[in-house]
């Protein structure tokens, strides 16, 4: 149990550092930036309480905000995505039961489940993020287009990172 807490805290810090120092500087095609730190919300264990989830999401988003000079934008988007995580989980069923000890990761629940799960959560996160960045509804469809393109990019990075950092059981 203790081991798990340490692992999650380490993941929190490392993800923020990777996001802020490395990925925030990509600007692929001008505006595409993988926001991979959201994987922290994706990978929290099933039994995480909803309140804890929200508070962690807020802390994560706010930390990213502090470093990318956009106070509140990432925090709002991350809290939004975290709020809908349990709902998304019950929406997509999997072969395995959601039981304590099972992490919502590719190794535990398979590629197809994880792909669906991450694409929904990341879309929610990115839609809020981009809307807040643009801060007006007048060009809603171009904002939507940006966020969809960026979602694909982020999900690609998330799945790649899963294959790199998790060993097959």
């Amino acid at each position: 149990m203790n081991n798990q807490y340490i692992r999650i805290s380490l993941r929190f810090v490392i993800l923020i550092l990777i996001q802020v120092l490395l990925l925030n500087n990509i600007h692929f095609l001008g505006y595409i930036n993988p926001y991979i730190y959201i994987i922290f919300i994706l990978l929290l264990p099933f039994e995480t309480k909803r309140g804890t989830l929200l508070v962690l999401a807020f802390a994560l988003g706010l930390s990213v905000d502090f470093f990318s000079n956009s106070l509140g934008i990432h925090a709002a988007a991350t809290v939004f995505a975290a709020y809908f995580r349990p709902g998304v989980m019950s929406l997509i069923t999997s072969r395995k039961e959601y039981e304590p000890g099972v992490e919502p990761s590719i190794t535990d629940l398979g590629f197809q489940w994880f792909f669906m799960y991450s694409i929904i959560i990341v879309s929610l996160h990115h839609l809020v993020l981009f809307l807040l960045e643009v801060f007006r509804f007048s060009n809603f469809f171009s904002t939507l287009g940006h966020s969809i393109l960026n979602t694909l990019f982020t999900v690609l990075f998330i799945i790649l990172s899963q294959y790199i950092f998790y060993r097959k059981k």
Binding site: G51, L54, S70, G72, I73, A75, V79, F135
Partner: protein, 274 residues
Amino acid sequence: MRNLINFFWRHSIFILFIALEFFSLLLVVNNNSYQKSVAFAWVSEKTGQIQSGYNDFWEYLSLKQANKKLAAENARYRSMLPSAFLITDTLVHYKKDTIYRQQYQMLTAEVISNSTNNPTNFMQLNEGKLQGINKDMAVINSSGVVGIVVNVSQNFSWVMSLLNKETRISARMKKNGQIGTIAWDGGSYRYASLKDIPTHVKVSKGDTIITSGYSHIFPQGEIIGIVSDFSIKPGEHFYDINVKLGVDFNNLSHVYIIRNLLRDEQKKLEEPVK
């Protein structure tokens, strides 16, 4: 009471969610200048709409009174018509107007020297102190703003042209009342630039730019020019607007000089505060 506590307890996650989102939005609006300006524009637009709706409502309620007032005014004007007077002798009626007090007086003059190709352009007029011209009077012609009198001698006056890097004239966009500043950055004598118009304002080609009347020199509503093109530099909060001047400075002969009769009073009012 118990039910209320129960209610809050059951929805505590949702309330936490809303609270965190609200707090984040507050941070966004308070700490990001772009989002701040958009939010401010939105809020002031909405409050303006509410305000004007409220005004319309009260105006509607007081229509009857307004009608009465207008009728009384009409009656008074009718009694001033020549037909209301019986001509008894050859005396002329001389009336001191108490409704419209004259604020601006026009004088005419001719330009006797002028330039358009220096960074600081001036022109000379053929009238001076003896003809009633003083420092800080406005100079216009029939097609727009020309400049400001900066020095006078007995018979001549020296005018700082709008085509002068030092000249700043408070301007207003006619269609939406936005206030900016007209300045000349050198270059073509047909164009000047309009500054300080924030980017949330809608600007389009051909918008008329007029004087704002804030400087106590120019009366309100004198034409300066029209917008010829505009752009926003990335990261800037104000437009770069190019204005095609109404006046052709290379072809200038007759001008009007405007004397603000109330300028001293206006200045004196501001003096103790400055």
